[in-house]
C-alpha cells in the first residue's frame, strides 16, 4: 500500500507564517471538495502533488496558529476492506509522526460509521499538530490545527475541528 504523504501537514506546522487579518468566524464551503468548516478568518485555497496523489484544500495561517482542511483522493482505494481502511488510517498517522512525536491517538468517526483518527503530536520546537483524519470511501480528509499546545487543545481549535462536516 502506498503511503500518501501528509507533506502539507508538516509544512503547515513548520512554517506558521505571518499573521493574516483576523475577523469574525466564517463558514467556508466547497462544493468541489464536499466539506464545510468554520474558520476564524478567510482561508486560502491550496493544492500540491505528493507522488501520484493530488492534495487540495484550504489553509489559514495566523500568528503562531494555523488551521487547515486537506483532501486527497487515493487511487484504487474505494470500497476497501475494514483491514485496509484501518491500515490507510495508520499510514496517515505515521506520515505525521515521522517528524512529530505522537502524544495522543484515538479512534473517531464521522456519520458514526466512517472511521477516522484524532492525533496530537509535537516536535522539539514546541509546535503541536492536532489532526482529525477521516477516510471516506477512498477519499482522505485531514482537518488540522498547528501551533502551541494551549492553542491546539483550546476552544478555537475545538470549534474549528468540530465544525467540519461532509456535504453533498
Amino acid at each position: 500500500m502506498r503511503i500518501y504523504g501528509l507533506t502539507a501537514v508538516i509544512l503547515l506546522a513548520s512554517s506558521i507564517a505571518t499573521a493574516a487579518d483576523q475577523g469574525a468566524w466564517q463558514q467556508y464551503r466547497t462544493k468541489d471538495l464536499n466539506f464545510r468548516a468554520s474558520f476564524p478568518a478567510n482561508p486560502k485555497e491550496t493544492s500540491s502533488q505528493t507522488g501520484k496523489v493530488l492534495v487540495k484544500g484550504v489553509m489559514l495561517d495566523l500568528n503562531e496558529r494555523a488551521f487547515a482542511v486537506l483532501v486527497s483522493d487515493i487511487p484504487g482505494a474505494r470500497h476497501e476492506s475494514e483491514k485496509m481502511t484501518e491500515s490507510r488510517l495508520d499510514s496517515a498517522r505515521d506520515s505525521i509522526t515521522a517528524k512529530f512525536k505522537l502524544e495522543i491517538e484515538k479512534k473517531i468517526t464521522i456519520a458514526v460509521v466512517l472511521r477516522g483518527r484524532e492525533i496530537l503530536a509535537s516536535n522539539d520546537n514546541g509546535i503541536f499538530v492536532r489532526s482529525r483524519i477521516f477516510l471516506v470511501n477512498g477519499r482522505l480528509y485531514q482537518v488540522m490545527v498547528a501551533g502551541p499546545r494551549d492553542f491546539v487543545t483550546g476552544a478555537d481549535a475545538e470549534k474549528f475541528l468540530d465544525s467540519f462536516v461532509l456535504t453533498q
Partner: protein, 167 residues
Amino acid sequence: MPKLSLMIVIVTATGIAETGGGDWKEFRSKEHGFCVLYPSQPKLNVTKSGGMEMKVFDVELNKCVFRIAVVDYPGAQFEKEALAEERLELLTKSATAKLKLEKATKITLAGALLGREIWASSDSGDMVHARVFLVNGRVYQVLVSGPRERATSAEAEKFLDSFVLSQ
C-alpha cells in the same frame, strides 16, 4: 442481502397534518451523525421492520413532511461497489413500490459515497422527492413528501440540500 423496506417511510409520509409557519433551524444529531435544516423541531419515531430498526426524524408543515430516516444494515459495512449499487437499486424499488417512479439519478455525498435521488408520485397527486445515501452499511434517507408543488418547492430543495454528515 436483507430486503429493504423503506415503504414504511414513504407510506407514512403521505398522511400529514398542517402545523403552521416554519422557523428554519439547524438540527444536529450527534448520535446519528448528521446535521440538517428543518423548518421546526423534528419528532423522532423508531420503527422496526424485518428485524431492523429505523430512526425517523419528521417535521410536518403545510401538508408536507420533511424527513430523515436512518437504518443500519448489519454486515453491510465495507461492501464492494457492485453490492452497494445493488443495495441502492433495491432501496429505490422498495421505496417506490406503491408509487410511480418518475425519475431516479445517481448522486454522491462527500464526493465518494454512493446515493440516489428519486422523484415518485402517488395516484392521489402527492409526490416524494428523496435522496438516499449509502454510508458504510448505514442508509440515510432524506425526503420531502406532499403535494407536488410543495415537494418540488424551494423549501423542499433547501431541506434536501442542507443535509450533511457530522462528527
